[in-house]
Subunit: 203 residues, 2 copies
DNA sequence: GTCTATAAAGAGATAGAC
DNA sequence: GTCTATCTCTTTATAGAC
């Protein structure tokens, strides 16, 4: 799928420096953003010099793209997902719980998302793809549930999916800006419950 | 309230350079973010040199704070707001419409918000205050409506307010990342209608 | 694959003339 | 209030040794 996951498994083990760099970069982005961070500091944190880092990632943008690709939301993409029923809503809550458990990574991506909103961002397309995939997955699950009689049929699955993703993102911002993780999860759960009621109510 | 609005009206007219700088900075932040922009380019866009800019805003951080303070969400804060009834929901839609009408400014603030999520951001407190004021206003309106019998009493006004703000922010991100402004407004309206039904339904 | 050394450019901020 | 000139520091990236 991407550069990271496409690498043969037997090569991953020998790639310790690359992994250390990616982790250090993710932390740096969470602390200072992409534009605010420097290759020198990231390299030092990863335990090598800037020139050593450049050997693995020729430009700073290459490093950013590698960090993004290394994420890839497994929670929804990998096996175990249920893309045909309203259990997607449960999956969303699981994704949020994992985000809370790994605050640094989540903060890093939130910062990168913010920077990607800038007009000339070179990674806007990455986030567009990321969001498109997520909302499509949710929307198709809702539509599928409607077809199978588990949900009402008089609703706009795309709009509902976009709204659910929006609530996740918006509440996550509030959490990262100083709110509590508990409030984040509680409010998301409360919203999803209400959404489920709405989706299963008789039209 | 802040440095900008506190300035006496008769002085505003003589402050053309300051105004031009703030506008140029807002545009620059929307294009390249805070960390990605430079005082030199902002100054040139405002029609003066970097040293001339520094005369008005001693440091880059001073400039950022001035841009933030120059916003101040009038839509909810100024006269005309209705903080005691569920008309706050209509006000939220009006705020979104104004945001759509001034995309550059909205994008600039979305980018700055993203950068503020970074751990060591010096303006995180500004956004905390901004969000706190907005959600408090909405929450108190909902609570007030509940007391007066216009809304049910068995709900968590703070949670609902936070959720509404989250939907606005999340949908706004989707719009700015490449979605259409129409979808943003339609989906927000759809959510607010459903929320109103929920708030006024019998508990 | 990692290093030292260096280039080349750009950043924020200061000093002082006008 | 705006300018020119400069300082100082940091940045990304390259060259070439080991």
């Amino acid at each position: 799928m991407n550069a990271t996951t496409a690498r043969a498994p037997h090569l991953v083990r020998g790639d310790q420096a690359r992994t250390r760099i990616l982790e250090a970069a993710s932390e740096a982005f969470a602390r200072e953003g992409f534009n605010g961070s420097s290759l020198d500091r990231i390299a030092k944190a990863a335990g090598l010099t800037k020139a050593g880092l450049i050997h693995h990632f020729p430009t700073k943008l290459d490093l950013l793209r590698a960090v993004l690709d290394a994420r890839e939301d497994e929670a929804l993409v990998q096996a175990g997902r249920d893309t045909a029923t309203l259990h997607v809503l449960d999956t969303l809550l699981m994704v949020a719980r994992r985000d809370v458990a790994d605050e640094t990574r989540t903060r890093g991506f939130a910062v990168l998302l913010g920077e990607a909103v800038a007009l000339d961002s070179p990674v806007a397309d990455w986030f567009q793809g990321h969001y498109g995939q997520l909302t499509d997955e949710i929307a198709s699950a809702i539509a599928s549930a409607a077809r199978s009689g588990t949900a009402r049929t008089d609703l706009d699955a795309d709009a509902i999916a976009a709204e659910a993703v929006a609530v996740m993102d918006g509440l996550q911002i509030q959490w990262l800006l100083g709110g509590s993780a508990e409030a984040y999860l509680e409010r998301l759960e409360q919203y999803l419950e209400r959404l489920r009621s709405h989706l299963t109510a008789v039209g």
